[in-house]
């Protein structure tokens, strides 16, 4: 016998048993009731009793009742309860009843009830409808039962067992996945998704069962004699690794289970097999399975599946919907309305369109009849620009195809049974009517197009609603107006609204507003709730296009409310998304906007429109950029673009937004090369698709130019913007709102290159164009005025600059409200100009306001804030409040230097001020030290604006330090050269400098105490307006 471990002897074990006496055992009763038996559920008990009684007393069996339900047959047992079929006499239908047994864990029970109630509110076609939740009580305790839709049919597992083609299997599993997504949308997680929990009903549609009941499950792994550590609920084959490790269920783990199911359905075998629990866990943690070698299933689909099987839940898809969208796209289950080659026009009988009543089923609808087609072609082509023909060649076939596809769908819908209880036909018809209205108004508008409108022809065609949505027949049920008279009136309103949309997309904002006003007027006499949301949605869009962002937000907010109450999910989804953008980006309140983004995300699931997802992601990207969470922004944008690409929407205006946003993110992240590449590829794409002479191509060039400017490649930036302007002038003439913007941008580039006069011309002309082409308070006007103001300020024309800034300020406040960062910017600039004018007191007021806003929006240590603090200091300095000023300048310098480093021009400006103060306060050496630090970067700059004064300050300071060293002379020379470059406006300074040099040569004492005078306090200052 080995030492160490004593063997157990029978004697020992008897001893141990003896120590636990009867009394001890009896006495130590634990609080668990019914430890011995698996308890019977009351239905089981009743049925057994009913059978016994019948047999014993030779009677017919009494009915077993549960609440009001008559229990019929035992259907089977799941992991958490037995299921019976039953009859509901009140609603006269058969149902399924699942009993859950009582528990001492009241919290878990309440949770199940809560989730059941939530699930009951989800009428999802792919979820077994939960009708009711009931409680029962019998002499053995209380329990809960669920009343469910009775589904007669096989489980998915059984269905799959008869070899199915992979496409069919995929479609079924995807449909089941939609049920899952629907539940996630209301916050319920399944926890035990698997083929046995999906049933294929008689109508062929899969239904997912047993949401949230996973807490009741206790399926031990088959054949496992080992002890399980922790307690695992659910069927191990389908559980995610984090669940196997004891973690709870989550949407990500549902996704995992979904992918296991999908894999099984497509490949025919389970993705992971193991002989016991532990091995299974190890296999799953090692990663997704290898691709099967001989499968007919396209690899790209299996690849998506594998992502869902990633052991790290964060690397799976963010949501089920993302996964489902990707799957559908990958399997081309989706049909796109593809543009076909030049084809014949559409020949058919006469149409009802003249009266603008929707095509009924007994008439043949003709959306694009030959005469209309000819009219549009004529209108487009006779604008007589070279690209007109090309435009027509592009949009003509697209319109043909749209009309054709619409007619097919319409015919199909008309042919289908009218009385399907799930309303598919109604939804399809409603959708088709909407498409019809849009097509008609587009054709009408195009048939009367002028050259300006033809520029937007592609936008108009893109704006046509997707026919895929009609085919899918998803979305809210259509509530038809009750009587035919009202129906006609509603139709008229909607046609006007469609017209307004078309005009807006064609950039005819005034006419659009008029059309919508007419729609509004017509609608006011009708009591049909859905109209309110539809009209408000368009109102928001028009206001947004006109730059009236506050109005747009109000309108969209109304739209969201109305649409939500009326169950119009598509409209609500769009309203919330647009709201998120306008509030978050335009009005610069990203936190408030996040709420709307969340709402939009929830609503997307309701609409089940795959096209909505990338648009929302794009919006989220912009919001995240606004908030500064750059990596999130980047990810959102990249995902949006990936989805657009999958949906083959590579060159629509939505993609432009996403790419532009991504470009901006990259710029802010400092990835300038990528940003430039991205925008360059955008230019290429548009060039290829639309040709050089198209507004989108020009726009792409302009965006590229802007990116290059930020990347400081000023040569290339100038070239791109000039290219954009040239194209635009050719196709649209010189007076176009975009021309105004781009000229302003060009001015900024020229200004950075030091070409002041050229810059000023561009700024002024840009402003003039914008004022001419946009409504009075449009924010672009204010921005353009700011640019002009900048240029004037740099030209030392402080008074004129102040006027521009003041005007810009008024505009900004009216567009954005008093707390907007652009308002802060305007006030800052105004303050700076006022300082130059010697209006220190007025400057202080504006600068304090600006500082408050910037501190709040950007934080106390951000660049903008620091710079404003610095400028405020200068206003204090001018009032003689030297100590305050000095302290503020020091602080500003500290912040900016830390943020930007000594080579940044802003740091140079701040250092200059600080250096001067230090010298004046007696610390010449310190002054030299600070200034020398920023000098090298400034020395090489084209622009003398900062270079000259710094050289001057260095000359003065070095002289103070050591008059005999030659340093001061070098600096003085540089200063002199710099001021000469100023030309006329530098002459005064130059004279002053010369005078000082003379004094310095003579070593006169004045040279040491020399101060560059500040602008004297002026008596002629603009009236102070109360800030905020």
């Amino acid at each position: 016998m080995e030492t160490g471990r004593p063997q157990r002897s029978a004697e020992d074990s008897r001893q141990r048993v003896a120590t636990l006496s009867d009394e001890a055992l009896t006495a130590s009763v634990d609080d668990v009731r019914q430890a011995g038996f698996a308890p019977l559920d009351p239905v089981q008990r009743q049925r057994a009793w009913a059978r016994l009684e019948a047999r014993l007393f030779e009677r017919t069996k009494t009915q077993v009742l549960l609440d009001r339900f008559v229990v019929l047959d035992y259907l089977g047992a799941g992991g958490q309860g037995r299921v019976y079929s039953a009859f509901d006499p009140r609603l006269d239908r058969k149902v399924a009843i699942k009993l859950l047994l009582p528990s001492t864990d009241l919290e878990a029970m309440s949770r199940v009830i809560r989730e059941a109630r939530t699930m009951a509110s989800v009428a999802d076609p792919n979820v077994a409808t939960l009708f009711d939740v009931g409680r029962f009580e019998d002499d053995n305790g209380k329990g809960v039962f669920l009343v469910l839709e009775l589904i007669e049919g096989p489980t998915l597992g059984e269905w799959l067992a008869q070899r199915r083609p992979w496409r069919a299997a995929l479609a079924q599993v995807i449909a089941a996945g939609r049920g899952l997504a629907g539940a996630h949308a209301v916050g319920v997680v399944h926890g035990d998704f698997k083929p046995q929990n999906i049933m294929i009903a008689k109508d062929g549609r899969p239904r997912v069962l047993d949401f949230g009941l996973s807490i009741f499950r206790r399926d031990m792994p088959a054949g496992d004699d080992e002890r399980t550590h922790g307690f695992v609920r659910g069927t191990p084959a389908y559980l995610a690794p984090e669940q196997l490790a004891g973690g709870g269920a989550s949407p990500a783990s549902d996704q995992y289970a979904f992918c296991v199911t999908l894999w099984e359905a497509l490949v025919g075998t389970r993705p992971f097999s193991a002989k016991d629990f532990r091995e299974l866990a190890v296999a799953k943690r090692a990663g997704p399975p290898a691709m099967p070698r001989d499968s007919h299933v396209p690899l790209r689909i299996l690849e998506l599946c594998r992502r869902g099987l990633d052991p790290d839940p964060r690397r799976r898809f963010s949501t089920m919907t993302d996964l489902l969208t990707a799957l559908e796209a990958a399997s081309s289950v989706h049909r796109r309305v593809a543009a076909i080659a030049l084809g014949a026009g559409f020949a058919a009988a006469m149409l009802a369109w003249l009266q603008h009543t929707p095509a009924a089923c007994d008439e043949s609808a003709n959306l694009f009849a030959p005469e209309r087609r000819a009219a549009v072609e004529a209108a487009v082509v006779t604008t007589a620009t070279p690209e007109a023909r090309v435009t027509w060649d592009r949009i003509g076939p697209q319109l043909d195809e749209y009309a054709r596809a619409w007619t097919d769908l319409h015919a199909q819908a008309c042919a289908s049974e009218p009385e399907r209880s799930d309303g598919i036909r109604d939804r399809r018809m409603g959708c088709l009517r909407r498409a019809e209205r849009a097509m008609r108004s587009t054709v009408d508008v195009l048939a009367n197009a002028d050259a300006q409108l033809v520029l937007y022809a592609d936008d108009l065609v893109e704006e046509l609603p997707s026919l895929d949505a009609c085919e899918r027949a998803e979305g809210a049920a259509v509530v038809a107006p009750p009587d035919p008279m009202q129906a006609a009136a509603v139709e008229a309103v909607r046609s006007q609204r469609a017209l307004a949309t078309t005009l807006r997309v064609g950039s005819e904002l005034d006419r659009a507003a008029a059309a919508l006003a007419e729609a509004q007027r017509l609608a006011s006499g009708i009591d049909y709730p859905p109209l309110a949301g539809e009209i408000a949605l368009e109102q928001g869009a028009i206001a947004d296009a006109q730059g009236r962002y506050v109005d747009a937000a109000t309108a969209w907010s109304h739209a969201l409310d109305s649409a939500t109450s009326a169950g119009q999910w598509a409209e609500a989804s769009e309203a919330s998304r647009r709201l998120a953008f306008v509030v978050g980006v335009r009005l610069a309140e990203p936190d408030r906007a996040m709420v709307y983004a969340e709402i939009a995300r929830g609503l997307i699931l309701r609409t089940r429109d795959p096209a909505a997802e990338p648009k929302l992601l794009s919006t989220q990207c912009a919001l995240q950029l606004q908030r500064g969470t750059l990596s999130e922004a980047r990810e959102s944008c990249e995902r949006a673009l990936a989805l657009f690409e999958e949906q083959q929407e590579n060159d629509t205006s939505d993609t432009i937004d996403a790419r532009a946003a991504l470009g901006m993110v990259l710029v802010v992240q400092g990835e300038l090369t990528f940003a430039v590449e991205l925008l360059e590829s955008l230019v290429d794409d548009f060039d290829r698709r639309f040709g050089k002479r198209h507004i989108r191509t020009a726009n792409a060039h302009a965006m590229l130019g802007e990116t290059l400017r930020r990347a400081n490649d000023l040569d290339a930036a100038e070239a791109e913007i000039r290219e954009a302007l040239a194209t635009l002038t050719e196709i649209a003439g010189p007076v176009h709102p975009l021309a105004g913007q781009w000229r302003s941008n060009l001015g900024a580039v020229l200004s950075a290159r030091g070409r002041r006069e050229a810059a000023m011309i561009e700024f002024r002309e840009g402003l003039a164009i914008i004022e001419q082409t946009l409504p009075a308070n449009h924010p672009h006007i204010a921005v353009a005025r700011m640019n002009v103001g900048h240029a004037l300020h740099a030209d030392a024309k402080a008074r004129e600059a102040a006027l521009e800034f003041g005007g810009a300020l008024v505009g900004m406040q009216s567009s954005f409200g008093p707390q907007h960062p652009l308002v802060a910017h305007a006030r800052h600039n105004l303050g700076a100009s006022l300082i130059d004018m010697g209006c220190y007191r007025a400057a202080e007021v504006h600068l304090r306001d600006s500082l408050a806003i910037r501190e709040r929006v950007f934080g106390p240590a951000a660049v903008e804030t620091a710079f404003t603090r610095h400028t405020l200091a200068l206003s204090l300095n001018g009032q003689g409040r030297r100590e305050e000023a000095r302290a503020a300048v020091e602080r500003g310098w500290t912040d900016l230097d830390a943020l930007l480093g000594p080579d940044d021009p802003q740091v140079a400006v701040v250092t200059l001020a600080l250096g001067v103060m230090m010298r004046e306060d007696g610390d010449a050496a310190g002054s030299v030290q600070r200034l020398e630090r920023v000098w090298p970067a400034q020395a090489d700059r084209e622009d003398p604006n900062t270079r000259a004064p710094i050289a001057y300050a260095l000359a003065l300071a070095s002289f103070r330090v050591d008059p005999s060293a030659p340093t001061w002379r070098d600096f003085a020379e540089r200063a002199r050269a710099g001021y000469r470059e100023f030309g006329a406006r530098g002459s005064e300074r130059l004279r002053e400098l010369e005078a000082w040099i003379e004094a310095a040569e003579k070593r006169s004492p004045a040279a040491s105490t020399w101060r560059v005078p500040l602008p004297p306090a002026s008596a002629d200052c603009p009236a102070l307006e109360v800030a905020g």
């Binding site: 157990r8 074990s13 008897r14 141990r16 048993v17 003896a18 636990l20 009867d22 055992l25 009896t26 130590s28 009763v29 634990d30 668990v32 009731r33 019914q34 430890a35 011995g36 038996f37 698996a38 308890p39 019977l40 559920d41 008990r45 057994a48 009793w49 059978r51 016994l52 009684e53 047999r55 014993l56 007393f57 047992a77 799941g78 992991g79 958490q80 309860g81 037995r82 009993l99 859950l100 047994l101 009582p102 528990s103 001492t104 864990d105 878990a108 029970m109 199940v112 002499d139 053995n140 807490i215 009741f216 206790r218 399926d219 031990m220 002890r227 399980t228 307690f231 609920r233």
Partner: protein, 197 residues
Amino acid sequence: MASDAELLGAWRRGDEVAGSALARRHFESILQFFRTKAPAFAEDLTQETFLQLLRARDQIDALASFRAYLFGIARHRLLHHFRDSGRAHDKLAARGAEPEPGITSPSGNARRDERRERLLAAMSHLELDLRLAIELTYWHGLSTAEVAAVIEVPAGTIKSRLRRAREQLREQLHSQGLTQQDTDTTMLQLVRPIAGD
């Protein structure tokens, strides 16, 4: 509340309502008795037990315990069943050939369910009468005298049988590789009040 004897008497005199009440009172215990050892046949065996009771009803002498009598019938039914189906001793694992999925309650009771399963598995290795002694004592709450009547042994031997049964159970549980503590905890599963108390 009428006693078993009263109900039985009334039933013998033709009162079916009383008979029904008596059967109802005990039927679940009998059902559970069979469910732990022959789950697939539990209902049938239960019905047979009561039918047998009906047949013998009029011949019953004064009973010390109706319950014991009834369980006695049940035990005979079970033995017949095993003989007929070729099993000398029911060694089915706790989950049985046709598992009745344990309708469990969530979270905290999960461990208990695990332990119960282990216990039942261990019990299935016991000699039938020893097993019955355990079940009848701890789960059905029969008195020593009643248990003795059911398994047809002298009353004084019950205590030692119980001891032996527990010993064997411990051996069984040990051989499954449980620690001492787990064994103790599992053994505690034996003790509980009867359903409905």
